[in-house]
């Protein structure tokens, strides 16, 4: 009996692999830098295809060369919090983590997984370098600053003026204008507002629209408790959302779209309006960016609490968190964090990747015109509303997204309120 693979070949392969594996494992590139003495391990979400990842890793490489230090970059995407937490349980977490404040990370400082940086802000001379509102947003209920605010985000609305011109309408600033614009766009076969109805991007817009009828304090209360029915403003906001939805403001089948597909719809000219955060605006192709004007979400024509179209403005980008392990080597953490707040790194992040930074700076993005436009929006043009992530309880975060996804379908106001409240109750 003969076989294509002989016994000898199998044995050779097995022995070869057995010898090669440890040899390969010994290669320098495959040896963890974090295991080297004196190394600082930095666990970052600024990695892969995320805007600013390349600029950040280049900045870290420069730091290593210039100061003869070793920094091990550990990289994850949205799975960073769970990896950090399990590492923390084993006492093997990175010294520093760069991750945003949302869901699981809200409880890190309270649980002792990371240390408050309140005192370090002053000791390291960073307080004056960081926008005060950013520090305030990163401060928890006990007065502890959870982490150093690093990047921030604007959440403006982008309008494709070429498509609006084609439909014979201008940039809408009120809900009546928006409905009229949507009808004109539809008549020309152009999608009006595109948004990821099935995910967090749809959730953000839903909550932004509701905030048209809520003061900042009311918003915090409603998003913390989830009790829409107990707030007349919140119910009015949901009614307004349904009015817009039923008037055809959103593209068809919006319930099935995601944050990725909304941008693709906009970037390919299939839809004229998209609410998107500034890091996503950095990815709008230059040709499309020429046709785009950045503004706010049209304010309610009747009722409501806003003077201007709304924009979500938040300092909740990536924060620089110090773990329990990092607290034991603050002598290594301090120069690294100070370096990240240098003019050099701030400018590189803004100019090289279009990131909005929490560092006080006058630098504006040049190669990312939409990000720059968003940064230039003033209080006379737009009314800022809050990013609800900070007030939504961790356990309600995912269930609430499912609830808001329901709102983009053909359901009544009562049903939306009911599903929303149940998401909090069952979380």
């Amino acid at each position: 009996m003969t076989h294509a693979i002989s016994r000898r070949a199998v044995l050779r392969a097995a022995i070869g692999a057995g010898i090669a594996s440890p040899l390969l494992a010994g290669c320098g590139a495959l040896t963890p830098a974090s295991s080297r003495p004196g190394a600082l391990s930095v666990h970052t979400q600024l990695s892969g295809a995320v805007a600013g990842a390349r600029v950040f890793s280049d900045a870290v490489a420069t730091y290593e060369r210039r100061f003869a230090r070793t920094v091990a970059l550990l990289k994850n995407g949205s799975d960073l919090p769970i990896v950090f937490e399990t590492s923390s349980l084993a006492g093997a977490e990175a010294d520093v983590a760069l991750v945003n404040l949302q869901g699981r990370t809200l409880s890190w400082t309270g649980l002792g997984a990371t240390i408050p940086v309140t005192r370090l802000l002053d000791d390291w001379g960073l307080r004056d370098k960081i926008i005060p509102e950013a520090v305030a947003e990163w401060t928890d209920g006990s007065g502890n600053v959870r982490a150093f605010p690093f990047t921030r985000t604007n959440w403006p609305v982008s309008f494709n003026t070429r498509l609006l011109d084609e439909a014979g309408v201008g940039i809408p600033t009120t809900s009546d204008e928006l409905i009229a614009a949507a009808q004109a766009l539809r008549a020309k076969g152009i999608g009006p507002v595109t948004v990821g109805g099935s995910d967090w991007s749809g959730q953000k817009l839903f909550l932004q629209i509701i905030q048209g009828f809520l003061t900042a304090e009311e918003s915090k209360k409603v998003f913390a408790s989830g009790k829409l029915s107990e707030s007349a403003g919140a119910v009015a906001g949901v009614e307004h959302f349904v009015e817009l939805r039923d008037a055809g403001v959103f593209i068809d089948n919006v319930q099935g779209y995601t944050s990725d597909s909304e941008l693709t719809q906009f970037n390919t000219g299939k839809a004229a309006i998209v609410p998107a955060m500034s890091s996503a605006l950095a990815k709008v192709p230059a040709e499309r960016a020429k046709e785009v004007t950045v503004g706010g979400w049209p304010k309610p024509s009747r009722g409501g609490v806003l003077d201007h179209p709304s924009v979500i403005q938040s300092y909740n980008g990536h924060g620089i968190w110090i773990s329990e392990n990092g607290a034991k080597k603050l002598d290594l953490v301090e120069p690294f964090v100070k370096y990240l707040y240098s003019d050099e790194v701030t400018d590189a992040m803004i100019l090289g990747s279009g990131r909005d930074m929490s560092r006080v700076t006058g630098t504006l993005s040049t190669d990312f015109p939409l990000v720059a436009q968003a940064s230039r929006l003033t209080a006379a043009q737009v009314s800022p509303v809050m990013l609800p992530d900070l007030t939504i309880p961790q356990s309600a975060f995912e269930p609430m997204i499912q609830a808001t996804a329901t709102a983009y379908g053909p359901v009544s106001v009562e049903r939306i309120v009911d599903v929303f409240e149940k998401a909090y109750a069952t979380a």
Partner: protein
């Protein structure tokens, strides 16, 4: 006469139906693969505008971007190390165990075989936390070593069931003849059983390769995010971002990671098909 005239017609209808179903099945497999390959040469606009059209240019820049952004070369090296080491360990453990079980006629052998089969009942999610605690207790957390030991443990039940069934089909006379010539048990395994079990070994290798190569959760938690150690399945998701994923780059990166799978499948598929068709082995 009417019956005989009908039979060829029925055969023809059956043949056409089965042929049509085979082509539909083939299309179901080929169309997504085609979409996947052509998309890796396009940008988002082309992917969404004309998903099934051929790319305007066969530009490999998406591959370069994916490899660069997610550091895929390092990740592939780590996956190769982890997968190959785990496969070698699996065979080193499964072959003698299966040999012993195949030759055993007693109750103890059946009991041990059932113990191995119990492994099928443990859901992988349920084992994650105790496994994590074990890794931490052994000081092997955030290392490839622990995963190299863990993966064979998860693969042994299926590997032993397959190899034991192959070895049971080998006529006892061959072993007796070798023993009469003075062969030890190890020599019988090496010189009698192993050559005959090559299709079974290939099957075990292929199935476990796919499982080890595609493992995500355990390497994510146990090996961790250090680029010097993380495997391909942990590195690849960093190409997906919250807003504005470049699907051409993501597809290119995924295609790059599939090349080793294709190579291994090409090498082992004939042996695996032989094993599946024969179901048993002749000496």
């Amino acid at each position: 006469m009417a019956r005989t005239a009908l039979r060829p017609l029925r055969d023809r209808v059956g043949s056409i139906t089965s042929g049509a179903l085979a082509w539909i099945y083939c299309a179901l497999l080929v169309v997504p693969l085609y979409y996947f390959v052509v998309s890796s040469f396009k940008d988002n606009e082309q992917i969404f505008e004309s998903p099934l059209a051929l790319p305007g240019t066969w530009d490999f820049s998406n591959f370069g971007t994916a490899i660069d952004q997610a550091e895929l070369v390092l990740a592939v090296a780590n996956s190769v190390i982890t997968t190959v080491a785990a496969l070698v360990l699996t065979l080193l453990l499964a072959l003698p165990a299966s040999f012993a079980l195949a030759r055993s006629n007693g109750r103890l052998g059946r009991f041990v075989e059932n113990i191995f089969a119990l492994g099928f009942l443990i859901p992988s999610f349920a084992a994650l936390f105790p496994t994590f605690l074990l890794a931490a207790a052994l000081g092997l957390f955030h290392s490839r070593t622990f995963v190299v030991f863990l993966l064979p443990a998860t693969a042994l039940p299926l590997s032993i069931v397959i190899l034991t069934s192959f070895m049971r089909a080998i006529p006892r006379e061959l072993e007796e003849a070798a023993s009469m010539d003075g062969a030890s048990a190890l020599q019988v395994l090496r010189q009698v059983y192993l050559p005959i079990c090559v299709p079974g070994i290939a099957t075990v290798l292929l199935l476990n390769f796919l499982s080890f190569w595609n493992a995500y959760l355990y390497p994510l938690i146990l090996i961790g995010p250090d680029t010097a150690q993380r495997t391909i399945q942990v590195a690849l998701p960093t190409l997906k971002v919250d807003a504005g994923t470049d699907y051409g780059v993501l597809m290119a990166g995924t295609l790059f990671t599939l090349l080793p799978v294709y190579l291994v499948y090409t090498v082992l598929q004939r042996q695996m098909q032989r094993a599946l068709i024969s179901g048993a082995v002749k000496g």
